[in-house]
């Protein structure tokens, strides 16, 4: 017995504590209103889908650069007999840039597919 060895006041307080804890542990019965979940779901704001318009700025810039490089290569090729070693190096450099851009464009198109 828990009350054993307690004076009456202590025993009464222990009993009161027990009742108090029992009352606190008792869950209040609540009536969830009919259709509560539906009501809450109706209040939830609809999420607007994010509209992403593709701009293709990069692709356009790449195309312009390729055209410019092609013109530069053509101009350099027409005057190839006059070219100094520096001019030749410039022609190779422009050609390499053109090839690099062409590879990049191809890989990018493949990713899109």
């Amino acid at each position: 017995m828990r009350d054993h060895g307690m004076n009456p006041v202590e025993a009464a307080l222990a009993k009161l504590d027990e009742r108090l804890v029992r009352s606190l542990e008792a869950r209040p019965v609540v009536q969830v209103p009919e259709g509560f979940a539906a009501r809450v779901a109706g209040q939830v704001p609809m999420r607007r889908p994010v509209l992403l318009t593709p701009t293709h700025y990069g692709r356009n810039a790449m195309a312009v650069c390729m055209v410019v490089l092609a013109v530069a290569m053509l101009a350099l090729a027409l005057r190839s007999w006059e070219l100094t070693p520096l001019g030749l190096a410039l022609e190779w450099f422009v050609c390499a840039q053109f090839v690099a851009l062409a590879v990049w464009l191809c890989s990018w198109r493949r990713e899109l597919q």
Binding site: S23, E25, A26, P28
Partner: protein, 176 residues
Amino acid sequence: MQDHQAMVFGTLLRLTGSREHLDDLAQEVFLRLYRALPSFRGEALLSTYLYRITVNVAQNEWKRRRRDDRSTVSISDEVSGWEERLEHPGRNAEEQMEEREFRLDVEEQLQELSQVERTVLVLYHQEERSYEQIAEVLHLPIGTVRTHLHRGRKKMRDGLVARQARERRAPCAITE
């Protein structure tokens, strides 16, 4: 949502001590949860997160009431009668009535406590949360949670003792 709505309603009812606006408050809890879900990183349990929101909504309600300076409606108003439904059917009427009165006293004493003490008591006893979970919900150290729990229970016990003493004196005063 249906798994948690009873918990939200029960906790809000005990924390606010009133059935007034209970539906609206519960709705607010779930809407806040919905809004907060995208930023929920799964560091805490969803239930802990939900308790935190519930406590925040209850705190806002206390603030609103303080502003409005309105008296609270008892948890055991005529519509509910939840204490009666909790009674053990085998008990005699006198015991049941005594138990019901005791529970009403407990509810009154609960509403006399500070907000944090009441919240800790409800989460610990009614919702059976651990010290760690309560500390996480309330952003308090575990030691502070323990202190609030013991202090809250002691205040309630003292309040109940004082009330019983007053009630015992009252019939004597009438007879005198």
